[in-house]
């Protein structure tokens, strides 16, 4: 009998190959690289907030209310970005606020990803009643303007940061369900799944060991993009007074409190707004880069 010689030219683990291919693809996108750098800085800021921040985010300096930033007349180096109406240091509040933003993003993504993937897999595996039930429920959620639905949910649950996160997660679930279901149905048609079935593999095994790992690429992309949506929606709820409650230094609620000073102390509105903008923008850029690198349908024509 003849034996084919194995081609071991690439003597690296498959994971290393996949990662290096991914990195090669990802770094072609300069916007995504910039986003990654900015996001890295935000993460560092959140982790070391206690060390970096010059003041406590909630301590009120009664002697220094509405101090402008250092580059404006009357600014001082003690409060680099100025203080708010009750004398809290804006820079410290922004630095601590990044913690809340990341916390909101991570929790929301965790909830909506796990629930969404589960429902999506169920819909893909159990055609008929279960699928219809899940997908129509998702259609109903999608039929509401997302912020309005989140607002209604928070109104029912009561205004707090935790409830706002739950509400946002619920609003984001349908996207994950749809992506998971579509991808899983495509994978279910492939022969490796049939092969596993002929071995007698049960539904759980097919779902989590065979199908799910092959559905991850678009889910990772969606998770990244939803991360920024979650931050934005949380800020919006905070601005409407339905999210984080004072004195929590959450960027959205900081904007809400600062609204009445928009003409007299414009830095109080501008700076938290910029913080939200920069964070969301960099996450979106990373998401786009991930999509280019991970989603084969979006891959640019290669030789």
């Amino acid at each position: 009998m003849s034996t084919e010689t194995l081609n071991y030219s690439r003597d690296r683990s498959a994971l290393a190959v996949v990662l290096s291919d991914f990195w090669h693809e990802f770094k072609q996108n300069h916007g995504a690289l910039a986003g990654l750098v900015v996001m890295g800085l935000v993460v560092l800021m959140a982790v070391f907030a206690d060390v970096i921040a010059p003041h406590s985010p909630i301590e009120q300096y009664r002697t220094a209310m509405l101090v402008p930033p250092v580059w404006q007349d009357g600014g001082s180096w003690e409060f680099i970005l100025g203080t708010d109406s009750v004398g809290r240091d804006l820079l410290s509040r922004l630095i601590h606020g990044s913690r809340y933003s990341l916390y909101i993003g991570l929790i929301v993504i965790f909830i909506s990803l796990t629930v969404g993937v589960m429902l999506g897999l169920l819909a893909a595996f159990f055609k008929g009643f279960v699928e219809n039930l899940i997908m129509r429920a998702m259609d109903i959620i999608l039929a509401f303007p997302s912020l309005l639905l989140a607002l209604a949910l928070v109104a029912i649950l009561g205004p707090s940061l935790e409830n706002a996160m739950v509400a946002i997660a619920v609003v984001l679930i349908p996207h994950f369900v749809r992506i998971t279901r579509a991808q899983a149905i495509a994978e279910l048609g492939k022969d490796y799944v049939a092969a596993s079935q002929t071995m007698g593999a049960g539904v759980g095994r097919l779902m989590f060991i065979n199908v799910l790992p092959n559905c991850m690429a678009p889910l990772i992309v969606q998770a990244t993009l939803s991360f920024s949506t979650a931050i934005l929606d949380a800020a919006a709820l905070g601005f409407l007074g339905m999210g984080a409650q004072p004195p929590t230094p959450e960027w959205g609620s900081m904007l809400a409190v600062a609204r009445e000073f928009i003409l007299t102390a414009s830095w109080l509105v501008t700076l938290p707004g910029l913080a939200i903008l920069i964070t969301v923008l960099s996450i979106n850029l990373i998401g786009d880069g991930l999509r280019d690198a991970l989603d084969p349908k979006m891959k640019r024509g290669k030789a």
Partner: protein
């Protein structure tokens, strides 16, 4: 055949991007095409045969793949130096091309006549009325019935063969002097393939064109070629007249390829003990038929009707037929990937078809399947070892012992046991198919179902895998259901054969009887359609494979 040279390729080299596995797709290739001949370029996948023709058409994937050396002389110009606008005129106008997959090569949202019209319009020929008439003529020329009706159809409404005819009509619309056909019959059924080959030969003779016909199938070569070029890894290893290359090949690679072509002759196998391992009685399976959303009746397709057969211990039963004949459905019903509507499948005294999924579990051990596409049948995210031991572990084996056995199985199928820790993408198609076989064997099956298991493989790899299957079957006393559309392969491996057509078995018997004395007209038509059936192949000594 005249000796007038119409296309001359001189020392052509085409470079590949730096990340590819070799530096040149095509290296120092020189050949000539004479008017009125069919020149076949043969080679296995990756041999550069399509790249050579794409270079002629200026269709290389820019900018990474480009010609770096040589000349392509056509009508006193070097095609490598003409401008894009010039090339546009030559392409389609003077050189026509047809592709492998007629569905993707036609625009799905345009009517056939509009697509043909576009060819004329883009080359600025004829008035509207003339064009209309020409289109009808063209469609009639390629043997399409009712050209007016076909012209007004969309591509999806046509069969594969009809689409390929439309493609040919498009390629020949402007009466080119050279036609390049890149595997035009590979995606077609054998009877349709025979018709298309006949058509190409016919048109070529009528118009005196030169045809470059790219194929991997030596049967096709034997059917139509005047001259043959054999390519291996970007180089021409042999060229000569068809007679010479097919019957007295000089180069060892050509010899190896030709030796790997299975012959249509049925190998007579000793009669096996006729104890049935599995017997199928009146198997029925229909698809569709559910009423639609608005209460309309869906179309009912009878995938199988009243299928009866038995597989004996230690034999291979071939299930042959064209696409849509229901042969794969039968295989999948046996293993309960599909549920049959009615009928019995008796295995070990139990009717598989009436078992619940739980009762089916112990039976699954004994029936295993090998799939067609070696790229889709292995989970890309799991290591080979995990893939192979999945079945035994589900059935309660200890993982470490199963792994040990998996290593032995890999050796049995001719792979190194170190493959256990690797991922599927690191293996070639043939190697993956071996892994698929090892996975099926890990369950200690009594019956193997091979669903087109060698159809996606190159001919030399195909021969090796067939040999492996045969050897394993003998050694482990397995029975096998071999589903295939390829009669040559069936002749080589099957003891008995069942011919399927439109869901029914029309002929069933020993391979030698079915092949030498076919009773049903459909079987005869199938056998007649096998390309190059008259070619026996040279008596070569079995080359030593690497």
């Amino acid at each position: 055949m005249s000796n007038e040279t119409i296309l001359k390729i001189d020392n052509l080299s085409v470079s590949l991007p730096s990340r590819a596995d070799r530096a040149f797709a095509v290296e120092e290739v020189s050949f000539e095409l004479y008017a009125g001949e069919i020149l076949c370029i043969v080679g296995e996948s990756g041999s550069g045969k399509s790249m050579a023709s794409n270079a002629v058409m200026g269709l290389l994937p820019k900018p990474h793949v480009r010609p770096v050396n040589g000349r392509i002389m056509f009508e006193n110009q070097d095609l490598l130096t003409v401008s894009d606008a010039e090339m546009q005129k030559i392409r389609g106008g003077r050189i026509g091309m047809i592709f492998q997959e007629p569905m993707t090569a036609l625009n799905p949202v345009m009517k056939v006549e509009d697509q043909l019209d576009e060819v004329f319009v883009s080359h600025g020929k004829y008035s509207r009325a003339e064009r209309k008439q020409r289109i009808i003529e063209m469609l009639r020329d390629v043997g399409l019935p009712d050209p007016e009706i076909i012209g007004r159809s969309y591509p999806f409404a046509l069969s594969g063969g009809q689409r390929q005819r439309v493609m040919i009509a498009m390629a020949l619309a402007l009466e080119p002097s050279v036609l390049i056909a890149d595997e035009p019959t590979t995606a077609l059924d054998v009877t349709t393939q025979a018709q298309i080959l006949g058509l190409v030969k016919d048109l070529q003779e009528k118009r005196g064109m030169g045809v470059i016909f790219i194929t991997h199938d030596f049967g096709v070569v034997a059917e139509i070629a005047d001259r043959v070029i054999v390519m291996q890894t970007g180089r021409i290893v042999e060229q000569g007249s068809a007679e010479q290359v097919l019957n007295s090949p000089k180069h060892p690679y050509t010899q190896k390829l030709i030796a790997a072509v299975p012959h249509l002759e049925a190998v007579h196998k000793s009669a096996k003990e006729p104890t049935p391992v599995i017997s199928v009685k009146n198997l029925q399976k229909t698809y569709g038929g559910n009423s639609g959303f608005f209460g309309g009746k869906g179309r009912v397709v009878h995938a199988t009707r009243d299928v009866n057969f038995e597989i004996y211990k230690g034999e291979t039963l071939g299930l042959v037929g064209e696409s849509g004949s229901g042969k794969s459905t039968v295989g999948r019903c046996l293993i309960r990937l599909h549920d049959a509507d009615s009928g019995q499948i008796l295995f070990d005294g139990k009717d598989i078809n009436s078992l619940t999924l739980k009762e089916m579990m112990p039976v699954r051990r004994h029936i295993q399947m090998i799939f067609q596409d070696p790229y889709a049948s292995l989970n890309p995210r799991r290591k080979i070892g995990d893939i192979i031991v999945e079945g035994p572990v589900i059935h309660g084996a200890v993982k470490s012992e199963a792994m040990k056995k998996a290593g032995e199985l890999l050796e049995l199928v001719g792979l190194d046991p170190s493959a256990l820790k690797r991922y599927p993408h690191e293996f070639s198609g043939g190697q993956r198919q071996r892994i698929g076989i090892a996975r099926a064997l890990a369950m200690d099956p009594k019956l193997l179902i091979a669903d087109e298991a060698v159809s996606a493989l190159d001919v030399s790899v195909q021969a090796q895998v067939l040999e492996l299957l045969d050897e394993i079957k003998e050694r482990l006393h397995l029975s096998m259901l071999f589903v295939t559309h390829d009669l040559r392969v069936a002749a080589k491996i099957c003891d008995r054969i069942a011919v399927m057509r439109l869901g029914e078995i029309v002929e069933y018997g020993e391979t030698s009887k079915v092949f030498n004395n076919p009773q049903h007209p459909y079987t005869r038509a199938l056998l007649d359609a096998v390309p190059g059936k008259a070619w026996e192949g040279p008596q070569l000594e079995e080359p030593i494979s690497a």
